[in-house]
């Protein structure tokens, strides 16, 4: 059985990562009643004795996560190490600093990247050496900040250089429009260029979507409608997350839980048995028809659990319908009205092939598939359901509905970046005679200019970093533009009549 390593970078990356490890332990605990260190556990965990030496078989002694935790501030990682999961992480797997990256991609990538490269490579090698067959790196980070975004994408490069044969799955949290980090568009676009070039597969996540989903779950819990109680042990709504709780406006714990569940379900078929297995390398094989188009929109159901256990087929079908609804997508997107290049359905629990086929038949007429992949479905059946559910569905779509997210990102970037081109000649303004009206005009101009100068100042923060130039920005936005253009070219084909390609003519 192959193993995977999680690399969690920055505040967001580590918080989600921590949720993931918490849920993974709970899932294995509910399945593995005998306490034997089996192949399923081996995927994400090592088994060590009291001296820290690995034990490959037999009873579970002490489980250690196959993870590397990196942050340029200490806060989050320290909380993890003081929380209920402190024994799951090896102290040799951590890299922290105190100064933080100041929400600056350039600091994360160029400064901390070069400073910590050797340490990072060493920690990764150590973790890899503990695996007898390393199949995949899961990188978890956010795009809007400095560490997750900058150092995270630097690490992505390192993973490609040092472990070229190992898959790189990236879970990226994209900033929302109201993000309070002004420079998040810069950080995100600079990071996207790296994702375009060095990731095998990216699962974009938007906080807005997670927030909406959590709000709906809360509504369901509070609505008091009969039959709509959320199951007690449901991992979706479990609140602990393995970190000491803070009072927070946004329900980040619950939001992080959803992403953690995504990763659990993604890997369930490679960890547990089923009648149609799906390994991680099959995800890339089936869902990435062209190397650059590797962004997968994910949706997870059920999120609002119903109380009864024997869910008849009609309700099962509802689960499939929900997976294609825009309310369940983890980014702000509506795949039903865009073009599918490929779609994967990862089903867990008591679901059989006839259930999947019935639902594909039912749903496919309302979906648009690209002309060369009219039946582009990949399915997998894992017998082991998630904790607290009798079955679940994870849908992964390679769909042009990611385009609006990328276009919005590009627009926000340009709004910020183009301001530097508006340079007013203040001196010539001063030489003219100033009336009161002119003075007021001038004052209001100064206020605007202050905002412009502020944005200019942000750019300056990036450019003063060694080896960071204007061309980094222009190349990054150009990379994003070319990606958007590819989706445009595909979208244009949507709804057009499909012409069968002329077949080879063989003379017998």
């Amino acid at each position: 059985m192959a193993q995977s390593v999680v690399v969690q970078v920055g505040q967001c990356g580590n918080q989600i990562g921590c949720c993931f490890w918490d849920l993974a332990l709970r899932e294995h605990a509910s399945v593995n009643k005998k306490g034997i260190y089996d192949d399923a556990l081996k995927n994400f965990f090592r088994n060590v004795d009291t001296r820290g030496t690995g034990i490959s078989k037999g009873r579970i002694c002490s489980l250690k996560a196959r993870a590397v935790l990196i942050d340029m501030e200490e806060g989050v990682v320290n909380e993890i190490l003081q929380g209920p999961l402190k024994d799951v992480f090896d102290s040799k797997q951590l890299i922290t600093n105190v100064s933080g990256s100041g929400n600056n991609w350039a600091v994360g990538y160029k400064v901390f990247g070069s400073q910590y490269r050797d340490q990072i490579v060493e920690k990764l090698r150590q973790t890899a050496e503990h695996c007898d067959c390393l199949q995949c790196f899961f990188l978890i980070h956010s795009m809007g900040g400095g560490t997750g975004s900058g150092l995270g994408t630097f690490i992505l490069n390192v993973l490609e250089d040092e472990f070229p044969e190992v898959y790189r799955f990236v879970t990226s949290v994209f900033p929302s429009g109201e993000d309070d980090v002004i420079t998040s568009p810069y950080n995100s676009v600079l990071a996207m260029k790296e994702l375009n070039e060095h990731a095998d597969c990216v699962l974009p996540i938007e906080n807005e979507s997670l927030f909406d989903i959590v709000s709906k779950i809360n509504q369901m819990i509070n609505s008091g409608k009969p039959g709509t109680t959320v199951k007690q042990q449901s991992l979706v709504t479990l609140n602990e997350g393995g970190i000491k709780k803070k009072l927070d406006e946004k329900p980040f714990d619950k939001m992080n839980n959803i992403v953690a569940n995504l990763l659990l379900n993604l890997t369930s078929s490679s960890r547990f048995e089923g009648s149609l297995n799906m390994d991680l390398n099959e995800i890339s094989m089936n869902l990435v028809p062209f190397p650059q188009l590797h962004y997968l929109v994910s949706s997870l159901t059920p999120l609002y659990t119903l109380a009864d256990v024997n869910i008849p087929p009609r309700r099962l079908d509802q689960m499939f319908s929900d997976a294609f609804s825009k309310d369940y997508q983890l980014i702000q997107a509506d795949p039903k009205h865009s073009l599918y290049l490929a779609c994967a359905l990862l089903v867990r629990g008591n679901v059989q092939i006839s259930d999947i086929r019935r639902n594909i038949e039912r749903l496919k007429s309302s979906l648009h598939f690209v002309s060369w992949n009219q039946e582009g479905w990949k399915t997998s059946l894992c017998s082991v359901p998630p904790v607290g559910h009798s079955h679940s569905l994870l849908a992964l779509a390679n769909n042009t509905c990611v385009k609006p997210t990328f276009m919005e990102l590009k627009n926000r970037f340009l709004r910020l970046y183009k301001k530097k081109a508006c340079v007013f000649d203040i001196t010539s303004f001063m030489e003219r005679n100033l009336s009161v009206r002119s003075l007021l005009k001038f004052l209001s101009f100064l206020v605007c200019q202050a905002a412009l100068w502020e944005s200019l100042a942000h750019l300056h923060h990036y450019l003063q970093v060694d080896r960071m130039e204007d061309s980094c920005f222009t190349e990054a936005v150009s990379s994003l533009s070319s990606l958007i253009e590819k989706y445009n070219e595909l979208d244009v084909t949507k709804g057009l009549p499909i012409h069968e390609q002329v077949r080879l003519n063989i003379v017998i």
């Binding site: 059985m1 390398n281 099959e282 089936n286 028809p289 496919k364 077949r503």
Partner: protein, 351 residues
């Protein structure tokens, strides 16, 4: 004469288990609807073809389990052992840690050469156990990476190593609407390669079997287990001992012998010669009477044509091709495969 069954990949191993389980049940069935002596002869014949006897007297399936990842083989070995009625040999399996990722190229060009020696040694050891080898029955799917890619590679190797043995491939045709998105590429590549090295391809279509489960057997929630059991029953009924043409009371020595009959394969035949009948008095699997039809007809033309058409459409846009070229299967190789299959389609059309 013994048949070596090679179970490849998840599909091959899951079906292989059901085949042996079905044959074992049939073996122990006392309701043969025939005389006791008849039953004994039948049982002996079946056992000889498909099972070994070891010290514990539990029949050991003459099978090799091969997969590139361990989960399915572990499950299969366990299920067989738990049944108590039969089991697999202790050293009859070969597996690795990481699967073929639904990639024909990976199965054929990476796993194939890498494990060629180990797998061929395993087969050699098994073959040496038998007084006489009737042939090979390879169970594989076309849609995935191991069964299809490694299956094609292995069939070629077997042909080279055992030029006089009969090689039959049990090929599982995937559901039309996706189990795997690149299944049409994998199928085209598999069929074109098998065509060159296999003696006979016995095709089982998932869609057809699914309909059997739904309409004839009235199963409500059809699982892969149901599908596999139907396929196993079909295979079992075809392989059960039958009378040889010389002596109507002697069971045919070679279970695959019937397939060597050229009458099955020629296109210019009198209708009276075209239908071969293999008979046996002993009932199979508790059915009082049953008939299994194996036909070489234009029946497969439509599914074959459909698969080639879909694969060609996808190939025209070059989608997914980079996943194959990464492991040494170039566009040229695709074109060669398409050509072979178009020729087959044309030949069947011309009948």
């Amino acid at each position: 004469m013994s048949v070596v069954t090679v179970q490849l990949g998840q599909c091959g191993n899951q079906i292989g288990y059901e085949v042996f389980d079905t044959m074992c049940r049939d073996l122990h069935n006392t309701q043969g609807f025939c005389s006791k002596r008849e039953n004994e002869i039948y049982q002996a014949s079946c056992k000889e073809h498909f099972f070994n006897e070891d010290k514990s007297e539990v029949p050991v399936a003459r099978a090799l389990l091969i997969d590139m990842e361990p989960k399915v083989i572990s499950q299969t070995l366990l299920k067989a052992a738990h049944s108590g009625r039969w089991k697999y040999g202790q050293h009859s399996h070969f597996c690795q840690r990481q699967g073929s990722g639904n990639n024909w190229a990976y199965g054929y060009s990476v796993h194939g050469p890498k494990h060629e020696e180990s797998i061929m040694n395993l087969i050699q050891r098994e073959v040496e156990e038998y007084d006489s080898l009737s042939g090979f029955s390879i169970i594989m799917s076309m849609a995935g990476g191991t069964g299809s890619g490694l299956g094609a590679f292995l069939t070629q190797n077997l042909r080279d190593a055992y030029p006089n043995s009969f090689i039959m491939n049990q090929v599982i045709w995937p559901y039309g609407t996706g189990e795997v998105i690149v299944q049409n590429y994998n199928s085209v590549l598999t069929l074109s390669h098998l065509y060159r090295s296999s003696d006979a391809l016995l095709v089982h279509e998932n869609d057809v079997v699914h309909k059997i489960c739904a309409k004839l057997m009235n199963i409500k929630q059809i699982s892969f287990r149901d599908v596999n059991q139907v396929i196993a029953h079909q295979l079992g009924s075809v392989f059960q001992p039958t009378y040889s043409s010389e002596d109507s009371f002697q069971y045919r020595r070679n279970p695959l012998g019937g397939f060597k009959d050229p009458a099955l394969y020629t296109s210019w035949l009198q209708p009276s010669d075209a239908f071969c009948e293999w008979r046996t008095h002993r009932a199979f699997n508790k059915y009082e009477k049953s008939a299994a039809l194996v036909s070489n007809s234009q029946f497969l033309l439509k599914p074959l044509d459909t698969i080639v058409g879909k694969a060609w459409n996808m190939f025209a846009s070059k989608a997914y091709v980079h996943q194959y070229t990464k492991f040494g299967i170039e566009e040229e190789d695709f074109l060669d495969s398409f050509t072979v299959l178009e020729q087959i389609v044309a030949s069947y059309c011309n009948l």
